[in-house]
Amino acid sequence: MALDIVSKYRSGLIAVFLIVFQSGAWGLPQVYQKPSDFLRSSFGEIPPTRGISLTQSQQSRVRSILGKNYHQKVIRYWASNERCAFILEAVGKTELITTGYVIDQGKIESVKVLVYRESHGSEVARSFFTHQFRGRSLGSDNRLDQQPRNIAGATLSVRALTKMARLALYLETLR
């Protein structure tokens, strides 16, 4: 009898099995693009690495943007002519989100989520969201001249990407 039930509902059971075991992969980091590929696609080749060593006053400004210190004291960047790229990390809810920002003369040229480690909120990696940052610049109050729209269910990730965008724009003025 049990075998009859299994054969009768086989396709349904397989679907349930797949859903259940797919759910186990939710916690895995999602690599959208390797950082090296991001730099190659932005510059053609990887420019030499440079670093910004934050002074106390700069750390203070960074703190006002992020609400806390950046987790590294020296922040790397890659530059070619007027354009420069930062690969920054910030915590969404509990995990780090790695995002690449290309800045051209004080304005964001492109934003790309490279590694997403949170279980929810990965919508921020979609182009409909990241395209909103194009052309944005930093106002006098350390805020973007135009805020991106929020995504319901991904509020913390949206905030993290927005803060990193502000940080990238500020760092660009220090290089």
Binding site: V20, P35, L39, P48, T49, Q72, K73, R76
Partner: protein, 246 residues
């Protein structure tokens, strides 16, 4: 004939009601108690109370597995255990296979296969170097000469610049230091450190007990089965509800 069939059906329902009731009793009891506690989490202060027990660390899969290895830099122990990196008993925001660690200029460089972490005298992360800034990965060795970092990849050694962002090949050196096994005493200290460093609100623990997630997939399968059993118990109970006719 119909009466006999009804009696037989009732007997079957009663039998299954009894079997299901016994089988699901413990999970349902756990669900009920945890549900009651969660309903009163605020008044019981369950959000504020934190728990930190060894079995909790194991249940959440936070205790590394496998054999830890370490390198010593002065009095500091740099340990890799299951790709997690610890400085003494403090976990660092680095992950990977430990290659080596060296001290220089009041700083500490920890080399993993794919990344080097530079820490200052306050154990704060100054910089991480990865494939974007290193001459070559995987890294196979690390050393210091004249207060400058030497990094080995394959059989080639590279001397890093003062700012770490450029490198030049340098002469062959001896074999770099190799990580060694952790002593039992140091392992015990590390385990204690991991347990002390992991604490969660009691309410979160009870939520995970309630949903069965705390015990992995067997936990939520049992929870689901208990819930299904409850539905069946209600149906069977309703079938037994009408008075027995003699």
């Amino acid at each position: 004939m119909k009466k006999v069939k009804t009696q037989s059906s009732r007997r079957l329902s009663r039998k299954w009601h009894r079997v299901l009731g016994m089988a699901a009793a413990l999970p349902l009891l756990l669900l009920s108690i945890s549900g009651l506690l969660l309903n009163h989490a605020d008044s019981l202060g369950l959000h504020e109370r934190v728990v930190s027990f060894r079995w909790v660390v194991h249940c959440y899969g936070q205790m590394p597995v496998g054999e830890p290895i370490m390198v010593e830099v002065g009095e500091r122990k740099i340990v890799e255990w299951d790709r997690r990196i610890f400085m003494d008993t403090q976990e660092l925001a680095l992950s990977g296979r430990l290659v080596g660690a060296v001290g220089f200029k009041d700083q500490l460089a920890i080399a993993l296969e794919e990344v080097i972490g530079i820490y200052d005298g306050h154990d704060e992360l100054v910089l991480t170097l990865d494939e974007l800034s290193l001459p070559k990965v995987p890294i196979t060795g690390i050393d210091v000469v004249d207060q400058r970092l030497l990094v080995q990849s394959g059989s080639t050694w590279y001397l890093l610049s003062e700012d770490f962002f450029s490198a030049q090949e340098t002469n062959q050196r001896d074999q770099a230091q190799q990580p060694k096994k952790l002593s039992q005493k140091a392992l015990k200290e590390l385990e204690d450190g991991i347990v002390q460093g992991f604490s969660i609100p009691l309410s979160r623990l009870i939520v995970d007990v309630h949903s069965g997630r705390l015990f992995g997939w067997p936990g939520w399968v049992i929870t689901d089965l208990a819930a299904l059993s409850l539905i069946l118990l209600i149906i069977l109970g309703l079938r037994l509800l009408p008075n027995r006719r003699s």
